[in-house]
């Protein structure tokens, strides 16, 4: 389903939490809302499932104004995940996940099967977790259950408000990776709020940067890191070139350059360092710096020699000359 904010504003007294916000999310895309704390991300997000009503402007889901859809009906078809998870403490994991299907009056057998399927999807063995109490889960486990609860009725839209903001960095990375995996299997339209730029770059098809209730820019991650707007440059930081490199893999870059002719490596001699094609260009740069060389041999995970990666390749990609 497509999603759209059309001139949406929200005022609390004199303060404008969101100011004339307009943006469209195509079907199946993941939009990340990013920006400093208090810039209006949560308010914009909550307009979609009507936990906040805009003071002016409107929100369209598949072209329909959400204010015309009965509110419980709307929410039962939009998955919602929040940072503090908000599992129901008096219900076990299976009952939490089955909450929306129960509201939709699915039969017991169907709910039970769906709960198992979802626990499997989020990587929690159903036999161990179905009957666990929320109070006994770790932060990471609780958020997996939170995601499963949001996905239970297979909603076409998923709203996530800093879902991985409260877990430790290691767990966060695991959850991000698994979220990407889950997303690639279920093509849903997702709006994801974070204040963490790295997370935004990692997950987003499109990143919308907000400041003071307004949309500053919306672009694909690669383009955003090249944006000349002073606020965006400041927000992306001096190491944005490294962030760009971190998004690209050695394999993709090698693919664009001419494969090496059998028998010779050209003028820079035979590099001694190796880099796997599934590594990022940022890791390649680090290896080059460490080895004091300006090129590396790229090898596939199975050990096959795939080509040569040079410092020139890195410079081009960091400056955004090659692909975006």
């Amino acid at each position: 389903m497509t999603l759209e904010w059309r001139n949406a504003s929200k005022a609390y007294g004199k303060k404008r939490a969101v100011n004339d916000f307009s943006l469209e999310v195509p079907k199946g895309e993941l939009l990340v809302l990013v920006g400093p704390s208090g810039c209006g991300k949560t308010t914009s997000l909550r307009m979609i499932n009507r936990l906040v009503d805009p003071s002016s402007g409107k929100i369209l889901v598949d072209g329909r104004d959400v204010s015309e859809i009965p509110v419980t009906e709307l929410r039962r078809h939009i998955g919602y995940v929040i940072q503090q998870v908000g599992l129901f403490p008096h219900m076990n994991v299976a009952e939490n996940i089955g909450a929306v299907p129960r509201l939709l009056k699915w039969n017991k057998v169907k709910i039970q099967a769906r709960v198992r399927e979802l626990l499997d999807l989020v990587g929690l063995p159903a036999d161990d977790y179905s009957e666990a109490w929320p109070a006994h889960l770790s932060g990471g486990e609780a958020q997996r259950v939170g995601v499963a609860r949001a996905l239970a009725a297979d909603p076409p839209i998923l709203l996530m408000d800093e879902p991985f903001g409260a877990v430790d960095p290691l767990t966060r990375e695991v959850l991000q990776r698994e979220f990407l995996r889950i997303r690639s299997t279920l093509k849903k339209t997702v709006v994801f709020v974070t204040h963490d730029l790295d997370e935004a770059i990692r997950l987003g098809d499109c990143i919308a940067v907000m400041n003071g209730g307004r949309l500053v820019a919306a672009a694909a991650p690669g383009e955003l890191l090249l944006n000349a707007n002073p606020f965006i440059r400041d927000f992306t930081g001096e190491d944005r070139a490294l962030r760009r490199l971190a998004r690209l893999s050695v394999g993709d870059t090698i693919g664009q350059t001419t494969p090496i002719a059998p028998g010779g490596y050209g003028d820079s001699g035979t590099p001694t360092g190796l880099i796997r094609t599934d590594a990022t260009l940022k890791e390649a740069l680090s290896l080059m710096l460490e080895a004091g060389e300006s090129s590396l041999n790229a090898v596939s995970p199975s050990g096959r020699h795939m080509g040569k990666l040079t410092m020139e390749n890195l410079l081009e990609n960091a400056a955004g000359i090659g692909v975006s």
Partner: protein
């Protein structure tokens, strides 16, 4: 377990009081100077039953009013009245029950009704306060999630707020009933019977043995109801909270 032993002890004391052949020698031992030991006008069983019914009825009425007001005041439409409701019920509790009784008798006559009114006024506050506190202190993210997944306001109340608040509300109801058992002794002043009649008769006839049996019977009744309701409260806890409390005897004492 300890709870059941306590309950058993209070029950034994109370039942022993109902058997004159046991009660009389005890009273004779403690009050050798009295000329009459067992209250002659009514049996202790009948007075205790009256007392119990009066207290439980007042408790039930107070529970319904307290919970109803507490729930109403925490709904969106009721919020503006929250302070007013709190103030009125605090005022009701600060009025001495005997004064309420004296004021009510001209309108309601003697007997059961004015006593019920005085007890309800006096014991609604603990139920109301606990209901308000329990609902107000529910974790925000849980309520936000409940609304966010598409529960109606009534579903949030019935499926989330009340089950989570019930243990604390239960404590308020228990306190309310125990207060009522103690306060119901004023029933004697309006001719509504109960254990107060024994105590009042003992005071006017200067017979400490009567005061003693009325007071002990009423205290045993209060303690017994307290134990019973504590057990019921325990049963109200959602399973998960119950597990926690079982692991922590300080809380279950």
């Amino acid at each position: 377990m300890r709870r059941w032993i306590g309950l058993f002890v209070y029950l034994v004391v109370l039942v022993a009081f109902f058997i004159p052949s046991i009660l009389e020698p005890v009273l004779q031992f403690f009050f050798p100077g009295a000329n009459e030991w067992i209250f002659p006008r009514e049996s202790l069983i009948k007075l205790t039953t009256e007392h119990l019914l009066l207290s439980l009825l007042a408790g039930a009425v107070a529970a319904v009013i307290g919970m109803g007001l507490g729930i109403a005041a925490t709904r969106r439409a009721g919020r503006p009245f929250l302070t007013l409701i709190r103030d009125v019920s605090s005022l009701a509790q600060t009025m001495p029950p005997a004064a309420v009784l004296a004021l009510a008798i001209p309108f309601l006559g003697f007997g059961f009704k004015p006593v019920l009114l005085a007890l309800v006024c006096y014991s609604t506050l603990p139920v109301l306060n606990n209901t308000l506190a329990a609902i107000e202190n529910l974790p925000r993210p849980v309520l936000e999630a409940a609304r966010g997944i598409g529960m109606s306001r009534l579903q949030v109340l019935l499926q989330i707020e009340l089950p989570l608040a019930l243990p604390v509300i239960g404590t308020g109801i228990r306190i309310c009933v125990v207060i009522n058992v103690g306060t119901a002794t004023i029933g004697a002043l309006a001719g509504a019977g109960g254990l107060g009649s024994v105590i009042v008769a003992g005071l006017t006839r200067n017979n400490p043995a009567w005061v003693f049996q009325g007071a002990i019977a009423s205290a045993s009744l209060a303690l017994m109801l307290n134990s019973l309701l504590l057990a019921a409260e325990h049963g109200l806890q959602p399973a998960i909270l119950r597990n926690h409390i079982d692991g922590n005897s300080a809380l279950s004492a």
